[in-house]
């Protein structure tokens, strides 16, 4: 019935990894394009986390920048002020951010916050974070920021290596996502994002899933934040503001497609291209983002990946109709999931 090679559901992850791994072969090593491509990987990984949070558990965390910033500032300060070695510092910073993500989620769950209220509270957390970094000027240099050279694992000096490390993080995030979605937990996440009350009444511990997902997402996001600090050679609070992180991530996810494996990647690619076009307009980019976001929410909530899947299904079903009798045979293979959209097709449940 579900006879398939055990790892076949990882093929899209692997394919994406291989395709993206080829990029450095075609661009100049220290060039602008590789920088943009590296940034794209980070954006995609943020979006994978945000997809888990918002797409699958309806937690509108508008503090992705805070989580990334905790990874960044945490790791940098632990090296600079506490003398930890960079790897240990990153691990500790990620652990702190993971705890923060879980805590914010737990508060929301306990107090029964709706989607919008979680959005408002986490937005407030973002403002607090900005003020905290500015206020702790003694350690953070305030808005002047910190030059991170020599404080990290040396990503700034090796752009190609940095690209591959960040690609590995993205692929790991995608693999974890796919593994979860293919397990019974995936079914629980799909169910609870559809209706939390019904999910509870079916025996799903909604609170635990929400907190667990928030911790996981915060872990990946803060890891990327810490690596960003090293790679970028410099951090300042504005680099982790809502406008710089959360809004782009929201656009990426909506563009690419919520609740899909590859939505974050596709969205990041499209966004990066659009961003490169509007960037010359300076201050206007903020306006462009705003308009884009409104348009996405109004007319394109499904995202590119879902749209492509739908088109592909239509093509498939029309060719099937052409071949008399095949539809019936397909029906009888007994797998209710075989007609599913790609992102979910591999779920054994």
């Amino acid at each position: 019935m579900n006879a398939r090679p055990v790892l076949s559901h990882m093929l899209p992850v692997l394919g994406t990894g291989i395709a993206l791994a080829a990029v450095p072969l075609f661009v100049r090593e220290s060039g602008y394009v590789l920088r943009i491509a590296t940034f794209l990987l980070m954006l995609a990984t943020y979006a994978v986390g945000f997809n888990l949070l918002f797409g699958h558990t309806r937690q509108l965390f508008l503090c992705i920048g805070v989580l990334a910033g905790t990874g960044a500032y945490g790791s940098v300060l632990l090296v600079r002020n506490a003398g930890l070695n960079p790897v240990a510092a990153i691990a500790v910073a990620v652990a702190i951010a993971t705890g923060l993500g879980a805590f914010l989620s737990y508060v929301g769950v306990r107090r029964g916050f709706g989607v919008l209220f979680v959005g408002i509270v986490t937005l407030a957390v973002s403002l607090i974070f900005q003020n905290l970094v500015l206020g702790l000027r003694k350690y953070t240099n305030g808005e002047t920021g910190i030059v991170t050279q020599g404080l990290g694992v040396g990503l700034a000096e090796n752009p190609v290596q940095a690209y591959y490390i960040l690609l590995a993080v993205l692929v790991a995030a995608l693999a974890v996502y796919q593994e979860i979605m293919g397990s019974r937990h995936g079914l629980a996440l799909h169910a609870l994002s559809d209706d939390e009350v019904s999910a509870e009444l079916s025996g799903i511990d909604v609170a635990r899933y929400k907190v667990g997902v928030a911790a996981l997402a915060a872990g990946f996001i803060s890891l990327v934040g810490a690596l960003f600090a090293d790679w970028n050679g410099f951090i300042s609070p504005s680099l982790f503001s809502v406008g710089h992180v959360d809004i782009p991530v929201l656009i990426v996810l909506l563009l690419g497609g919520m609740r899909t494996l590859l939505g974050p990647v596709v969205g990041a690619i499209v966004f990066t291209i659009v961003d490169a076009i509007v960037r010359p307009f300076g201050q206007l980019t903020v306006l462009a983002y705003g308009v884009l976001l409104v348009a996405l929410f109004l007319v394109f909530r499904e995202g590119t990946v879902t749209l492509l899947q739908r088109g592909w299904e239509m093509v498939q079903s029309s060719t099937q109709r052409g071949q008399v009798g095949r539809g019936v045979a397909a029906d009888e293979d007994g797998d209710p999931l075989s007609q599913r959209t790609n992102s979910r097709a591999k779920s054994p449940y």
Binding site: M1, N2, R184, L187, A188, H190, A191, S193, D194, D195, V197, S198, A199, E200, L201, S202, G203, I204, D205, V206, A207, R259, D331, P336, Q339, P348, Y349
Partner: protein
């Protein structure tokens, strides 16, 4: 424990629930025995749905106790109550629109039981319950394509899939024709006989309930005003006045006659 008390599945003791200043349940006492079929009736806003919400853990009572199998369950979250063996069918079905019919039921199989079966067995189980409610052949459809009645049946199948010892059913019959009601009545009877599930059945439509249930509990303004066999309830002057209004005695009498002869 005496054999008699072992028979009792659910016991509500003096359950009180307020929304702000509004008392919605007032010292409600209720017992449901193993395998019994109990009708819970009352006018609009009597507190029937609220009582089911309190039992299933979606709401916490302000005072009083809810016991299931001798164990205090108020304070438990809804998912834990489900796993203890209380299934719930909502007044307005809320399914998982992104999942197929079968997956909706599968969720109940995989998460509503204390020991969920392995994957293939779980799928078979889900189909078994879909067949029981008469939805065989629909398992691959998206629930969005179903009509309201079919949605109710999916909700019912999902609740049954959690293998409850007691099922809370909230107004399955609203908006149905008499023929359709008959179908549901037969279905609930079959569920009770085949699966041995006790059913606490909230219903507005008296005709549907009186011929079928063992016992009726009448709720009015949040308080239990009568409790007894359908025949007793049909005679109870308080019920007739408070709930049914004038002229109801004749109607009821006719139905009891009908039910008795069938």
């Amino acid at each position: 424990m005496s054999p008699q008390s072992e028979e009792i599945l659910l016991r509500c003791c003096e359950v009180t629930k307020r929304f702000g200043g509004l008392v919605v349940l007032w010292e409600v006492n209720l017992e449901v025995r193993r395998g019994s079929l109990i009708g819970l009736i009352g006018p609009n806003g009597a507190g029937k749905t609220t009582l089911l919400n309190v039992i299933s853990g979606l709401l916490q009572p302000d005072s009083g106790r809810v016991e299931f199998l001798g164990r205090l369950i108020n304070g438990l979250p809804a998912h834990a109550v489900v796993r203890l063996g209380i299934g719930r069918v909502l007044q307005i079905p809320r399914l998982f629109p992104h999942l197929t019919v079968e997956e909706n039921v599968l969720v109940g199989v995989l998460f509503g039981r204390r020991k969920p079966p392995a994957r293939e067995e779980a799928q078979e189980e889900a189909r078994k319950f879909l067949t029981l409610v008469g939805l065989e052949g629909k398992h691959r459809e998206r629930v969005g394509k179903l009509n309201t009645q079919e949605k109710r049946l999916v909700d019912l199948a999902r609740a049954l899939a959690t293998e409850p010892r007691m099922l809370l059913v909230d107004e399955l019959m609203s908006g149905l024709s008499l023929v359709e009601m008959e179908r549901y009545t037969t279905l609930l009877r079959r569920i009770r006989e085949q699966l041995g599930v006790a059913i606490l059945w909230v219903e507005h439509v008296m005709e549907a309930i009186l011929g079928t249930v063992d016992e009726v509990v009448v709720l009015d303004h949040g308080a239990v005003i009568a409790q007894g066999s359908p025949a007793e309830i049909a005679q109870d002057p308080l019920v007739i006045e408070a709930y049914l209004g004038t002229g109801a005695r004749e109607v009821l009498g006719a139905h009891m006659g009908y039910a008795g002869s069938s």
